[in-house]
Structure formats: structure tokens, C-alpha cells
Symmetry: C2
Subunit: 536 residues, 2 copies
């Protein structure tokens, strides 16, 4: 048998552990990993033109398949470019394995031009970081990276608790000195299997059951696995039998929604609205969710919107016991003979006339295809309308902006489409945030992915304009920092420039026509939806 290079052992181990896709933006120090792809065709290399696209794609992929994709990134600056979407992946508990090439060990002390502190950068988003120390160890390092990625590192007190499916994982970063890659003597490690999560404690479940039986106002706050179809069905049984209300995290990593799935009201974005949602609630029961915290602090407002007299209980947390099983056990206690309430198929009427922030979502809701994957970075454009408009659409998965780091939508659609080649992927993308990782469109075209992107063009950083108004600034110097007109972004030209066919819609009718046509054709499409301000 011919001796393997370290890079070949690394790729082989990843493949054997079912890591089959690598979103890559490599450079010289990753060249031997790239060369290894020629002898290991089971690993699909997907070229991304920017590292933030690679990491966002790995996030979208991992959310859909529950296993990690690899990324291949070039030294510190390459990793740095990928950090913003790794931040989102971390907040989604998505399993991701980053492979970051570094200089050869003998080269590092020379402080050559690209020398950088990869370890420090990796530490900011990863629950596992290792710098490989030998060619022989590269295989086992890769296996350890995969095992760590399949462990949810988010809950500090829970320790390394394996979890089962979907989005319960974390970020591993393996730093590979170039000479370890190119040297002979690599040894593939044994495949890593996805571990089963620990069983819930019967006592914990009984204790929550007794809270539900008190007859006091209760809310079950759902996130993570609880937002899978199985989790939602159990939660719905509990709701029906006990009167406890269900709420879901806003912009969750992945939520099953639509006809045939129990419907859940999302938590609001702003703290003052959450406080209203939770007023008079006596017990808040966390099911794979964290207690609500506002995204930002504001003068003279609280960051903790849960009313002070609400008691908080934990049924399950991501990285702890199996959330779905916990919900099912709880349902068997308090709702043994109750069926879940499923949303009926109920499409909003197709709106007419000029597109606005208020009506575009109804077009999507009315025409959403069966079993779509919806990547949502519509932000303000969809904040108050998208959930309602799609509540009765055919069943679909909704992937949200988990870490609030913008530029997730187009990349995550890339990964979701590669993960689910038989499902239509819809990317609902705000204009300002599209510009952070726009080159994802090129990967849509290169890989001929069935993604329909709808750009919601309101010509501004609308959410920031609203925040600016909150602080009382009204003059031009500040306002122009959130104005995306002068010049207007022309997303049709931008998409065409990257090989994605594109059209522009100014009316609801045009959007409907173009959306239907895009769905009926294979491959990527982009529709620029020009939104007027909502006139109510």
C-alpha cells in the first residue's frame, strides 16, 4: 500500500466519518488538502469566493443534515473572514469542522507576511481548537474534530453531552501546519459515529409536570430540537391538555412550520414586546431554549424582559438531555390521550398592487412550494409579516439569523441546497445584509443549486434607521450612514454578473409571476423585490 500524506489521511478520516462536503476558499498552505481531493472523490469540494460564504454554507448544510460539513480556510485572515458566519453557526449549535492551514512549523517563527494568530481567532467561536502536532496524528485529530463538532458545547455547565440530530453541535477548528499535510506517514482514524444524547431524567420531567398541573399560567419556550416536527407535536399535546402556551425563539436555527405542523407564536424582537407576551405568565418552561435576553441594551430599559414574578424552569437544554424525548415524556404525563393540533393548509390571498414591507410576505406564503427550505434574513422586512403569511403554507423548514451577524442568508442557502438537493430552497434576503456575502450567488450558479433568492430592497439599513430614531438623531450626517440609495443597488445586474438569472418586481403581481417562474425552472434565480414603505 502506498504511503499516505498527512492531508490524505485527514480527508480520508473526514470522509469515513461522513463529512462529505468541504466548502473551500483555500490558499497556498492548504494546497495539499486540495490535491488530496483528486484521490478521494468522496469529498465534494465546493469553491466559495469568500470565506464568509464557506462558513455560512457549512452552517446551512449542518442545520439541514445534522452532520458537519468541513470548511477549508487560509491562515488567520481566511479564518477571520469566516468568523461572522461561524458566530451564527455557534448560536445555532450547528456542527462545523473548520480546517485552517497554517505555515509549516519551521516557517512560523520567521514572522512571514501572512503570519497571524489563528489560535486566538479560532478560540472566539470554537468549542474545540487543536493545532496538529504531527503527520501521524492528523487522522485522529480530524476524528476528534468531528466528534467535538457533534457535541454541543454551548451549555457550560452541561459538560460534553452528545446530542442526536439536527442542530445540536458546535464548532471545531483544526489548525494544520502545511508540512504535516505534505509529509508522508498519515494514518486515517476510525470513523466517528453520531452519539446518542443522554436520556432525560424522569424526576426532572415529573417536576415540570407538577408545575403544569398547578393550573397557573404557563409558557413553554421552544428552541433547538423542540422546533422539530416531533418536538412540536409533543409540545402541542401539552398545550392542548394543560392550556400552557407555546412560544418559539425568534429566528431559530431551524423550525418546522406550515400545514400539518403545530403552529407556535414566536417571541418578539424587542424586549418591551416580549414583556407584554410574558405578562401574567407564572411559569416559563425552557425546552431547549434560553431565557429571553434582549439583543441590545438601551438607556432606562431592562435587558431581561421576563417579568420578575415569572418563575423559570428548565425541561431540557441544548447539549443536555434529549429535548424531543423530554417533551414526549412530559406529554405522556400530562396529555396521555391528547392529539396535537396541526395547522391547516391555509394560503393568504395573493396581494395586488405595489410591493410594500406589508404585503410581499403574503406572495411568498401563497406560493411557497411543498417542503421548501426557507433561509430567512429578511430582518425588518419580514419581522412582523413573514410568520403569519407562511403559517398555513405547505410544510417547510425555516432557518433564521441565529447570531444576528448579518450576511448569513445567501451562504446558508448555498449549504442548505447542497444538503437537500431534492428540495426547493427559498432565500429571503434583506438588501443591506446581502452585500456582506453577495458572492454566494456565484456558488449558486457554479453548483447549479435550486435556490430562489428574493432580495427585499428597501434601500436602507432599515433596522438601524429605526434604532437611530430611537436615540433621537434626525440630522443628515447620521441618517446618510444608513441610506443605501445614492446610488441604488441594482441586484439584477449584480446577480447577472455572477451568472444567476434575475428579474425585478415592483408589484405583488410581478413578484408572484416571477416567483412561480423561478420555482418552475431548475437552478438558481434571483428576484429583486423593490419595496415601498408600508402604508397602513
Amino acid at each position: 500500500m502506498q504511503e499516505m500524506s498527512g492531508a490524505q489521511a485527514l480527508v480520508r478520516t473526514l470522509v469515513d466519518s461522513d463529512v462529505r462536503v468541504c466548502f473551500a476558499n483555500p490558499g497556498t498552505s492548504e494546497m495539499h488538502f486540495v490535491a488530496a481531493l483528486d484521490v478521494l472523490p468522496q469529498m465534494r469540494g465546493v469553491l466559495c469566493l469568500f470565506e464568509g460564504v464557506a462558513t455560512g454554507a457549512a452552517d446551512g448544510y449542518g442545520r439541514m443534515v445534522g452532520r458537519p460539513a468541513a470548511t477549508l480556510l487560509h491562515l488567520g485572515p481566511g479564518l477571520a473572514n469566516g468568523l461572522a458566519n461561524l458566530h451564527n453557526a455557534r448560536r445555532a449549535n450547528t456542527p462545523v469542522v473548520n480546517v485552517v492551514g497554517d505555515h509549516a512549523i519551521s516557517h512560523k517563527p520567521l514572522d512571514s507576511l501572512l503570519e497571524s494568530d489563528i489560535d486566538a481567532l479560532a478560540g472566539t467561536v470554537s468549542s474545540w481548537v487543536r493545532r496538529s502536532a504531527s503527520t501521524e496524528a492528523l487522522g485522529s485529530d480530524a476524528a476528534d474534530a468531528v466528534a467535538a463538532a457533534l457535541t454541543c458545547g454551548d451549555a457550560e455547565e452541561a459538560g460534553p453531552s452528545p446530542s442526536r440530530t439536527g442542530t445540536s453541535g458546535s464548532i471545531s477548528t483544526l489548525i494544520v501546519p502545511a508540512n504535516l499535510s505534505w509529509s508522508a506517514g498519515g494514518r486515517p482514524a476510525r470513523p466517528v459515529k453520531i452519539p446518542a444524547p443522554p436520556a432525560p431524567s424522569e424526576q426532572d420531567v415529573r417536576s415540570i409536570a407538577s408545575v403544569l398541573r398547578l393550573g397557573e399560567p404557563c409558557v413553554l419556550l421552544l428552541d433547538g430540537q423542540a422546533l422539530s416536527e416531533q418536538g412540536l407535536r409533543a409540545a402541542s399535546r401539552i398545550e392542548s391538555a394543560t392550556g400552557a402556551r407555546l412560544l418559539s425563539r425568534n429566528w431559530a436555527a431551524r423550525q418546522r412550520r406550515g400545514a400539518g405542523v403545530p403552529l407556535v407564536e414566536p417571541l418578539a424582537y424587542r424586549g418591551e414586546e416580549i414583556t407584554v407576551q410574558l405578562q401574567d405568565v407564572r411559569h416559563l418552561i425552557l425546552c431547549g431554549a434560553r431565557a429571553p435576553v434582549t439583543s441590545f441594551a438601551y438607556p432606562d430599559r431592562t435587558s431581561l424582559p421576563t417579568p420578575p414574578d415569572t418563575r423559570v424552569h428548565v425541561l431540557a437544554k441544548d447539549g443536555g438531555a434529549d429535548t424531543v424525548l423530554s417533551l414526549e415524556m412530559l406529554a405522556d404525563h400530562v396529555a396521555p390521550d391528547t392529539e396535537p393540533v396541526l395547522a391547516p393548509l391555509s394560503l393568504p390571498p395573493l396581494p395586488r398592487g405595489e410591493l410594500t414591507v406589508g404585503n410581499w410576505a403574503a406572495v411568498i406564503g401563497a406560493l411557497l412550494p411543498q417542503d421548501a427550505v426557507v433561509c430567512d434574513e429578511s430582518i425588518t422586512a419580514g419581522m412582523t409579516t413573514l410568520h403569519a403569511a407562511t403559517a398555513g403554507s405547505p410544510p417547510h423548514d425555516l432557518l433564521g439569523l441565529t447570531g444576528l451577524s448579518i450576511g448569513q442568508g445567501l451562504p446558508s442557502a448555498t449549504g442548505a441546497a447542497i444538503a437537500c438537493p431534492d428540495r426547493p430552497v427559498i432565500c429571503l434576503q434583506a438588501d443591506g445584509s446581502a452585500m456582506y456575502t453577495l458572492s454566494a450567488l456565484w456558488s449558486h450558479a457554479r453548483e447549479h443549486l435550486d435556490i430562489t433568492t428574493v432580495i427585499l430592497n428597501n434601500s436602507s439599513y432599515a433596522i438601524l434607521r429605526a434604532e437611530l430614531e430611537r436615540v433621537g438623531a434626525t440630522a443628515d450626517a447620521s441618517a446618510q450612514l444608513f441610506d443605501l440609495s445614492r446610488p441604488d443597488l441594482d441586484f439584477v445586474s449584480l446577480a447577472n454578473g455572477m451568472g444567476v438569472p434575475a428579474t425585478r418586481a415592483r408589484t405583488a403581481e410581478e413578484l408572484a409571476l416571477q416567483f412561480k417562474r423561478a420555482l418552475s425552472e431548475p437552478g438558481p434565480h434571483l428576484i429583486e423585490a423593490v419595496l415601498l414603505p408600508h402604508r397602513n
Copy 2:
């Protein structure tokens, strides 16, 4: 007098210390800084659609004016997006002041969605990092940030040594909790003045002079201030009088070149070529430069291309004594009556026929306008041709890819054009690297900057393809990871989508015509130069 907010004191201090431009991509935590711009119009806020554009623009600005611009970045993910170009700025010794908003102090322990380790990220590129501790201190923190940015932190052993002009500075990062910005009680600090560098030691200069008098083969390696017109004139006198050869760092931060300026041969990119350049050299004298180190290590090749029997001497290092003055003192010792040799005006003939990697640079060299600022990220397309083609063009400044982190060109042109509104800015931009920070084009249009961008489209990551061939990979799986066709990027559409008028050139004649036309009109233009492989 009305009491100032912390943010107002911060902006006021920056303005008073002559920091007059802020390249901004702000979010909610920076909202009060933005609002402060309304009452402090002396600070020009320039909106960038991606943080890497903001930091690259600050780098280009700082290289041209020798004073820092500010950047305004949003928490850890925003800073992360800006790190790659801060890496280049660090390698250019450019002064930059980053202002990064963070959550309010009371909000940080709550681990809200955008919580991130800003300090760790900032530490990877900054020589100075501070987290403000009070509203009262924000003004003095800002002054300290400016003072630190005007200090070259690169030379570890040199300590904090102030330097005079141009590109001798470093990266400061001030982290500002939001509540310190919004609270009243800000106190502007006294303005920071640019400090003078320490005088060179007469003894050090005499010792180098005695080396030059030995009559043995000597090379003066020039970087930093040595590449200013004044530094080059002194170096040229030394060359003429002693026979010492001059070499310059390849892809220097800023080099004065062209007719009327002494011409210097650049160091080659590859180590084996540098070894040839330095063979038989007995003494390598570093003038604001570091001893050559290859960019990457390769199997069985050295990373230190200086021949082992070459002795290395240090005349001046950036961050140490005044490099220009050191050269002038040295010239007065060894060449008291010698005049510098200046390059004559000598334009290459305009080439004809299809554009290739080999002939495009001659078009630029033949038509380069007087006193242009040339931002060069042409990489492989210009590596062997650009220097020669522009050696006799009208005098100009050449800004190089100092840290090898691609995506610098378009942003640095933004900053250079804002720094030098009366000079034409030429951006020579490779296709692959253009895609990392392409939205800089929107800022070119928004600010109506006089930038002519030439995209050198060879439809590949050509430098990586060459590296891949060096490792012996030839199969399709690897090769396609460096192929930028399928689909072809259409830079005319991409530029139009961001409001920049654009044309495409396939022949040298077309490039010449379009380049002349672009230079004759105000505002930004883009020319996509489609390059065939060089046929020699």
C-alpha cells in the same frame, strides 16, 4: 455649556487630533457615535457596505496622509469582517484607529446573541487595545488611541518609538461599551500631535559607511520611509558613489516611482529568485526593511533566501530611528558630492492586439496620468510586468499588497481617493481577490471618487493554480477549486449594479481607449480587462 455625551467627547477628541474621516459600518451599539456626527460635522462619515471595505479604506487613507482615519465597527463580528485588511494595514505600518462598539456593561454578562470576544479579535492585529471603563475617560482613551496609532509597534525590540510621516504607524483598537457612549459627562482630551522620530545614531551610520567602503558587493534593501522620494534620492546617491545595489521590498506599502524618481529593482516574489538576486552579495544593508523571508514554506526549500555567507546590517528599521535621515546622513558620508540618478520619462509603446498577462501593463504604463496613486492588487497579472512598464511613467505612488491578505485593492483605492481628492487613483485589481470586498465599488460611486479600476480578469486564482502545479496535482477535482469560470464573472454587470460605469476591453487598443476616457471624466470607472494567457 451643554454637557457632552461620551460619544460626542470621543468624536470631538478624534477631530481635534486631526482624525477627520471615519469609515463606518455601524450597528446598534455604535448608534450614539453616529448621532454625534450630526453635531460634529468636521468628522466625515463614509459608509461602507462591509467592514473589510472600511478597514481597507482606512489603510489606503493612512498610507497617503500619514495620519489615521477612524473605522467604526459593530461588535466582534463586525471587527472580524475587518481583520483581513487590518492585517494588511499592520504589515504596512499604517496608522488606524478602530472604534468598536460593544454591549452596555450591564448587558455583557447576559451572553446575548451578538456577545463576542472583541478583545481577543482586536489583539490579533492591534498594537494597542483598550476597553473604555468610563464615560469621563472616553476622550482621553481616544487621544491615547491616536497617539498609539502614530507609533510603530511593529519592531518589538524598539519599544514605542514615534515616527514622522507616511506609513510608520500601527493599529489601535478602542472598544466602547454602548452605555459609556450614550451617557452624559464626556470630556474631550487635548489634541495629539504627530511626534518626531528619534534621530539616527551617528555611530550606527558611520559603521554602515565603513561597510560600504570595504569595496565588497553590497545591497541596500529599502522599505518604509526609504521608498519615499527623499529616501530614494539619498539611496541613489549612495548607489552611484559606492556601487552598492538598491533593491526594494516587493508590494511595499507605498513607493514613489516614475520619471524624476530614482528607480529601484524590486525583490522577487519567490525565494529561489531572491536567492539569485542576492547571490555573490557580501553585505545586505536593511533600510527600513526586514531581511527577506519567503511568503510560504515548501518541501525541501529554504524560507530564508538570503545566501548564508551574506552579512546583514541594519541602518534603520521602521519604528526605530528616522529612516530617511539615516539614509541622508549615510549619503553625506559616502557620497557627499554625488547627485541621485533619476529615471527619465520613458513610456512603453502602446501594445496592439488581444490583451494578455504580458501586455496589459504596458497600456497602463503608457497612459498613466501625472501624480497618480496606483493601488496594486494585480498579483500574478502584474508580478513580472507592472514594475517595468511603469518605471518611466510620470511620477506616481504605488501601494502594494503588504500582508498578502487579498481583497485590499478596491478598499484601499477608496481611502486613497478620499485622502487625495486632487489626484487620479488607479486600482489594478485581480479578479479573484476583487470578490472579497467588491462592495467598495458602491462607496466609489457614493462618494463620487476619481478612481479608475482595471479588473484583470484571467478567470482563475492564477497564483493558486501555479502553487497547485508546484505540488504536482493535475486532476480535475483540485483544479476546479481555482477555476473562476463556469460561470464567468461579469465585472461590467457587477460594477453597474453598484453605480459605477463600466466597460470591457479585450484588446490593448480597447483598454487604451477606455482607460483614457475613464481618466478624462470625473468620478469612478471600471474597466474589465479580459486577459488571455501570455503567449511568448
